[in-house]
Amino acid sequence: MLRFVVRRLLLLVPVLAGLVVLLFAWLRALPGDPARALLGQRATPESIAQVNAAYGFDQPLPVQFLTYVGRLLRGDLGSSSASGEPVLDSFLSRFPATIELSVAALLFAVVLGIPLGYAAARRAGGALDTLMVGGSLLGVTIPVFFLAYLLKIVFSQWLPWLPTSGRQDPRIDATHVTGFYVLDGILTREWDASWDAVVHLVLPGIALGTIPLAIIVRITRASVLEVLGEDHVRTARAKGLPRALISRRHVLRNALLPVVTTIGLQTGLLFSGAVLTESVFAFNGIGSYLFQAISQLDYAVLQGFILFIALTYALVNLVVDLLYGVIDPRVRLS
């Protein structure tokens, strides 16, 4: 187990190294001039030279590359050219918001998706099944931000029950310990603050969770259908085992493996959706940070963001592979 984890972490090194080289080459191959992008069109030659010297853009490319890699190895992702803030600090201060949102979306998708997919498979061909299959197709093809708009329209105009922007009501004077607002409220026993943060998560969570929900319903349905047709289920039935027991031990347990894989894949993809969802709901996470970085052509942030997400994505997939072994003892980690 430990050997497996270490080997997987070591395998990450060449992938990330490749990504670093690719990103560096990519940015240098651009026609643009970073100093000019920073200073604007009316910059004097002197100020451009100054910026070039300050950021090391006047050095030969190999030197620039080594400096860049040296910084990366020390955990320095550079500074935003728009705000001057260190990129890593900005990510770390905003990441809790995105994690909260992703967890909310996943909870919505998993808690609803597995039972729905299971129910659809049990009555395959029935009305519920048809509804689920159709609904999940629609769920995959509806653009995230359009769904976010729809939710915003419905809940700001017609049914004003839920907040449609922000992470917490600004009137609540909450203490922040970890940056996870829901958790902060629990830690400081400010239950109101915690509840308010939860309520703010509902709509963005649904918007972001709909695609994973649709996919989880489909995978669960297909997987359960396949297991239901297997011999060991028939044997269990023939033995006269109670239905509930068969469902839990023989069907669900075996059907969950592909579902877990899918959940892992979706976790990585949530970051893409989060960029769009966060900006519709003014949810201050890394997604809305990237949104700003794009509009300001902030290369340091873009570059740091991609590395950061790729690393997170790889780690999530590692956890998924570890979970395999827990759920299905037949899977030996090697």
């Binding site: 105009q157 259908l225 900006s279 963001f305």
Partner: protein, 308 residues
């Protein structure tokens, strides 16, 4: 987002189809089963309808796209509703909403098709190199593909579009870039699966050159899953075009009507005029749905499990 379609499970096993047994080749029987599949027909109808609208946009649309009407009557608080000559009313810059929607179909389908074609071409080159040549070429290409796959596709598209600037062609390249690794991997896997089969061994033993084996035997027989993926990718490409527009990275020429941009323009009026967002959003969702239905049906039709 492109990975979404990839993540969908293969079609559930369907009942054996008596017609399929022993009749014609793979494509022939696939076509037969497609024609009988309601999913395929629904998808085809939707796709065809939007294609026709896109082709004949100037004949269908009541006006010119991207031209705000001089006496539009758009105020900061409201837009004019339906009126004779403007069946859906006007949008916030003061252009005819129906015209924008109709010409938007052109833009979305064009960008979607071109970017998928580019992604397919790029992926095919890499896939053939990896699966056909093998050896160290395979290793190098697949490591590159792994790296590209380690970035969520929308973010990859975002970085490419941000770098290339706001032109329609850069949006197409950006979306294609995100698809290349998926097609490459699919084609390689499919070719490797073919490589061990008897007919390939037979061709080899006849002394046919490797290049010919790869290009005229392995490649054509590996295309099934690639075509399915391309259909599904069209759906995600259309959504991604809108997403890039939404992020401020779309084609910047304001005189081209584009659904994603219409959604962005509608954002500030969500509270008062939700229909401005609902129409283009529904167009994106329905077009994407059409391609997805068609792709799913194709997958089912080409699935060996369903054929036997």
């Amino acid at each position: 987002m492109t990975q979404i379609s990839e993540a969908l499970e293969p079609a559930t096993p369907t009942a054996p189809d008596p017609d399929a047994v022993g009749s014609g080749g793979l494509w022939h029987s696939a076509w037969r089963r497609l024609r009988r599949n309601p999913t395929a027909i629904a998808g085809a109808v939707i796709v065809l309808a939007f294609l026709l609208v896109a082709l004949f946009a100037p004949l269908i649309a009541p006006g010119q796209p991207g031209v705000p009407l001089p006496d539009s009557g758009v105020t900061p608080s409201s837009v004019p509703g339906p009126s004779p000559g403007h069946p859906l009313g006007l949008d916030s810059p003061g252009t005819d909403l129906l015209t924008q929607l109709v010409f938007g179909a052109r833009q979305s389908l064009l960008i979607g098709v071109v970017s998928t074609a580019l992604g397919l071409a790029g992926g095919a080159v890499l896939g053939v190199l990896a699966g056909g040549v093998g050896g160290w070429v395979d290793t190098v290409v697949m490591r590159l593909v792994d790296i590209l796959l380690s970035i969520p596709s929308l973010l990859l598209a975002v970085s490419v579009a941000a770098v290339l600037g706001q032109r329609p062609i850069s949006v197409m390249i950006a979306i294609a870039a995100a698809q290349v690794p998926i097609f490459a991997r699919l084609l390689r896997g499919s070719m490797l699966a073919q490589r061990g089969s008897d007919y390939v061994l037979a061709v080899h033993s006849l002394g046919v050159r490797r290049r010919t084996v790869v290009m005229s035997h392995l490649l054509p027989n590996s295309l099934g899953p690639v075509i399915v993926q391309a259909t599904l990718t069209l759906a995600t490409a259309i959504i991604e075009v809108a997403a890039l527009s939404y992020l401020g990275l779309g084609a910047s020429n304001p005189s081209t009507a584009e659904w994603g941009r219409m959604l962005v323009n509608a954002q500030s009026r969500l509270a008062t005029d939700p229909h401005l967002a609902i129409w283009p959003g529904a167009c994106i969702a329905v077009t994407a749905l059409g391609f997805t239905l068609l792709g799913e049906a194709l997958r089912e039709a080409l699935d060996p499990k369903g054929r036997k």
